[in-house]
């Protein structure tokens, strides 16, 4: 199933999804360290304007590190991050946010003692157009009616799902053109995961916000995104459209949990990964 053409893309550099315009985000060969440990080893990826791109990978593969490097929390030792053609890898995170890049961090990270309303207003911190902010608040209540009922409660009192809704809404209050989503399904019930992903798709379609989605829930991610990258121990090992990735035997075995029964009906313990 895996052909040599795919193997080439697996090695890494340019995957070039079928777009003619310049991608909104272009990450080239970044290497980032946590202290002495190299967490990502020369990762390159692109997010075309208006599309959803996902990065799949196991725990510790470096998914969150990629997002943190893009949003400026970590500075890469090597490589470049280009947002709308501008190199941003050395900027402070608050400067990067001002350029139009939103980040929904892993574990939601809402401000627990601030009310829901205050959390949303903090999302709009860099804006000063009151009318526009009020308009965006209404738009967000449209996506998440539940938040409207809880405006004056401390965010720490919300359920996990509501906090995730708040985290996404808070990032949207900046009117970002690119949204980084780190594990939006973390710790949520399957129904809530469906709900959240439906909204993510809606935001993408209705507002044209490009998204870089990092997920452990590979099934959900592959259904939502247009393009996908597979990350293993800090390296991109596969890149393709999500449709093709879904059909790949490797992805089915290792990320979607499909069973591959052996000749005598016994499960072969480990399929050999074709990218090794």
């Amino acid at each position: 199933m895996v052909m040599s053409a795919e193997r080439e893309t697996a090695i890494g550099a340019s995957v070039a999804p079928a777009v003619t315009t310049e991608p909104i985000l272009k990450v080239s060969n970044i290497e980032s360290y946590y202290g002495p440990i190299m967490a990502i080893r020369g990762v390159s990826l692109e997010v075309p304007r208006g599309s959803i791109v996902t990065v799949l990978g196991a725990n510790g593969a470096g998914k969150t590190t990629i997002l943190k490097t893009i949003s400026g929390v970590l500075d890469p030792l090597k490589g470049t991050v280009e947002f709308e053609g501008k190199q941003i890898q050395r900027l402070d995170p608050d400067r990067i946010v001002r350029l139009g890049l939103g980040h929904v961090p892993e574990g939601r990270e809402v401000f627990p003692f601030l009310t829901v309303r205050e959390n949303l207003m903090m999302g709009a911190y860099i804006r000063s157009d009151r009318a526009g902010i009020a308009e965006d608040l209404e738009r967000i209540y449209g996506y998440f009616p539940r938040l409207k009922e809880r405006l004056d409660q401390p965010a720490g009192h919300l359920s996990g799902g509501e906090q995730q809704m708040l985290a996404i809404s808070r990032a949207l209050m900046n009117r970002p053109r690119l949204l980084l989503l780190d594990e939006p399904s973390l710790g949520l019930s399957p129904i809530l995961v469906k709900e959240i992903f439906a909204i993510i798709r809606r935001v993408n379609v209705e507002e044209g916000v490009a998204m870089l989605l990092v997920e452990q829930n590979a099934r959900m991610a592959l259904e939502t995104a247009h393009h996908g990258y597979v990350l293993e121990v800090g390296r991109i090992v596969m890149a393709d459209t999500c449709e093709r990735l879904r059909e790949s035997k490797d992805i089915q075995e290792f990320y979607l949990g499909a069973r591959d029964d052996g000749a005598r009906g016994e499960r072969r313990w480990k399929r050999k990964k074709t990218w090794r």
Binding site: D92, D94, V97, E109, F111, M122, G123, Y125, I126
Partner: protein, 291 residues
């Protein structure tokens, strides 16, 4: 009864000073998880700066007061930028040692610049007393209480009603998330230090007419304001004020009613008792920070 009321007012005035210093501890701790042991010395410095403006240069008391507080704001930002920011990320122990060292430095500098004599600032209300029936209350002590109430109200409005104040609370709750909101975290932290130093400066200027301005005044008061902050539950702003008031009142009443020596022990006995019964402090449970 009259004695008691008068002692109570004195105690509250002293407690306000403790509370203001403790407030500085708490603001900085919440925003940066640094415990600034030089907080009392910043208060001392505020007194000296006000002395310079009012007595040496001869400015009007209120103008001198205002300038001293603004100067302290600049001092606070400078300390943050050049002393604290470079060592952030190192173990808490190192940071605490640095702030203790900073306290020594400020005390020595103050001694070198202003000498070691007791200095006094004359405030417009230094001498007067308020008589209510037989009750005699000194204006200088009342002024401390009134000024503290006003300052707290201003701070409350600032933190709850303004965008910058809310951003400061957000930053102290979750610095990383604050970055993701586009809040200029470094500038906000710098402003928190400015506010803490300004609050300490206000305390220093208010205290000046009551006690003397002396380079060691901050050490003594700072050491008592720290238990005030702990008593209130480190990390809680109302807790810092209530803790300060309790320590101030207990200390003053103990000094009046109990044999000599109890004055300095009593506040710590209360602190021990509270910590035994409520280890998180009086207001601690409300303010647990997610790290």
């Amino acid at each position: 009864m009259l004695d008691f009321l008068q002692q109570l007012v004195s105690g509250l005035a002293l407690g306000c000073i403790y509370g203001l210093i403790a407030l500085g501890f708490v603001l900085i701790y919440k925003a940066t998880e640094v415990i600034n042991f030089a907080q009392g010395d910043l208060m001392m410095l505020g007194g000296f700066v006000a002395y310079t403006y009012i007595t040496i240069i001869g400015l009007n008391y209120w103008l001198g007061f205002l300038l001293a507080v603004l100067t302290m704001g600049i001092v606070g930002m400078t300390v943050e930028r050049f002393v604290v920011r470079p060592i952030l990320g190192y173990p808490l122990f190192s940071i605490i040692m640095v702030t203790i060292g900073l306290g020594f430095l400020l005390r020595s500098l103050a001694g070198m610049i202003w000498g070691t004599d007791d200095l006094k600032i004359e405030a417009p209300f230094s001498q007067g007393v308020l008589r209510i029936g037989d009750l005699v209350l000194a204006y200088d002590k009342l002024s401390v209480i009134v000024a503290t109430v006003i300052l707290i109200a201003v701070l409350y409005l600032f933190f709850n009603r303004t965008r910058l104040g809310t951003a400061m609370r957000a930053t102290s709750e979750n610095m990383l998330a604050a970055y993701y909101m586009g809040i200029p975290v470094k500038r906000v932290v710098s402003l928190v230090w400015a506010i803490s130093a300004m609050v300490a400066g206000v305390a220093g200027v208010l205290l000046a007419p009551i006690t003397f301005v002396h380079s060691n005044v901050g050490l003594v008061l700072g050491l008592k304001a720290f238990p005030a902050a702990v008593l209130g539950g480190f990390g809680s702003i109302p807790g810092a004020l209530v803790g300060g008031l309790i320590i101030g009142v207990v200390e003053t009443l103990a000094g009046f009613y109990l044999p000599q020596g109890w004055k300095d022990v009593a506040p710590y006995l209360i602190l021990l008792l509270v910590l035994l019964l409520r280890p998180e402090g009086l207001f601690g449970a409300l303010g647990r920070k997610k790290v």
